[in-house]
Symmetry: C2
Subunit: 216 residues, 2 copies
């Protein structure tokens, strides 16, 4: 498998964790989101993923790259049944997916690099205003996630039960990002305990931005 | 089933279409996103969905409401197997999910009501700046969707094949929103042809914001 990714991209980080948890081998083809005006915007990369976003994954001899991190994770879980990332029961699956989507839809896109760029370049936001913006959406999203997970009986050592899975793949990159922007993480003890347990595991360590070939 | 929704909420609209396509009966419990300072932020509603967002769905005697529109749609497709919304093959499923996520992650959240509110209330953006913001993210997302769908052999009368499904449930509410904000839709003939076909079907007509009990 070939993963088009950027070391610090949260969505790429999710897929790296998923691949590692499932024990699937892959090579990385780095796409630099800042250098050369953003390599993801190049014609070459647009031929691989017309969305001009990372990650994208090519599995084996497939012609077409898969895109959208959550769609890729679902694909991996369907195509490679060992070590499932999602639970078996539809209610539990809906719960775990809702945790992942609460981050992937309601926190991450609003705080993505291209949005922060627009805030400063087009709306003239200061660095401080951008940081406040970032921390605001992060706090709103993480607070409800903390409440939901803290009160859920299905939570174990990880978001769901005692094995890391689909939701953890999305949570840990979001916490990494939040810490980069100096968000106050004290209000989220449940999330931070899960984060600590994940970061101790090889699948998460090997997926960490600092461990990637394109890390700076 | 009981759906907590708001007539104009794009995410609620998605789930209404999915329920209708699958022929599942439901009653609606409207949550007004503007009146009373936003009913979704009330303690009463937070007990149903701590995320303070619509939609939420209670299926039968379940204690817990399901949240996040895409997680609800996946649940409906798993729990009620008739009239599947997703195709059978993992590659095709990944493709269809990536179309849905390209809207649900990369267009909709950035243009959501709460984000537009923040732009004006906290960053002092003018109405015109908010409109330009909306149209910008819409154009970026819809342009890549148009390219991808126009070039995909699996597209039929609808996003995937000749039956409406998962991606159409997400596309049509996004087009409705884009038109509300006067986005120029001329560059998206493929998407608009699908939109026209969908809007002619009862499942989509009955889910339309103007047909809801809380429509204004």
């Amino acid at each position: 498998m070939k993963l088009f990714s950027y070391f610090r991209s949260s969505a790429s980080y999710r897929v790296r964790i998923a691949l590692n948890l499932k024990g699937l081998a892959y090579e990385q083809s780095p796409v630099h989101l800042i250098k050369n005006g953003g390599e993801q915007l190049s014609d070459t990369y647009r031929k691989i993923n017309p969305e001009a976003l990372v990650p994208a994954l090519i599995d084996g001899d497939e012609q077409q790259a898969l895109s959208q991190s959550l769609a890729i994770m679902e694909y991996l879980d369907e195509q490679y049944s060992e070590r499932p990332l999602l639970p078996a029961n539809p209610h539990d699956r809906a719960w775990v997916r809702s945790l992942a989507l609460a981050i992937a839809c309601d926190i991450h896109p609003i705080n993505n690099l291209r949005v922060l760029k627009y805030l400063s370049a087009t709306l003239g936001a200061s660095d401080e205003q951008k940081n406040v913006w970032y921390r605001h959406w992060c706090a709103v999203g993480l607070a409800s996630l903390e409440t939901r997970l803290a009160n859920d009986a299905r939570r174990g050592l990880f978001c769901f039960g005692d094995q890391p899975g689909f939701a953890d793949c999305v949570l840990i990159p979001q916490i990494f990002n939040a810490q980069r922007f100096n968000c106050d993480m004290a209000p989220y003890p449940t999330l931070m305990a899960i984060n600590e347990r994940c970061l101790a595991l090889p699948a998460f360590k090997d997926a960490h931005p600092s461990a990637q070939p394109d890390a700076e």
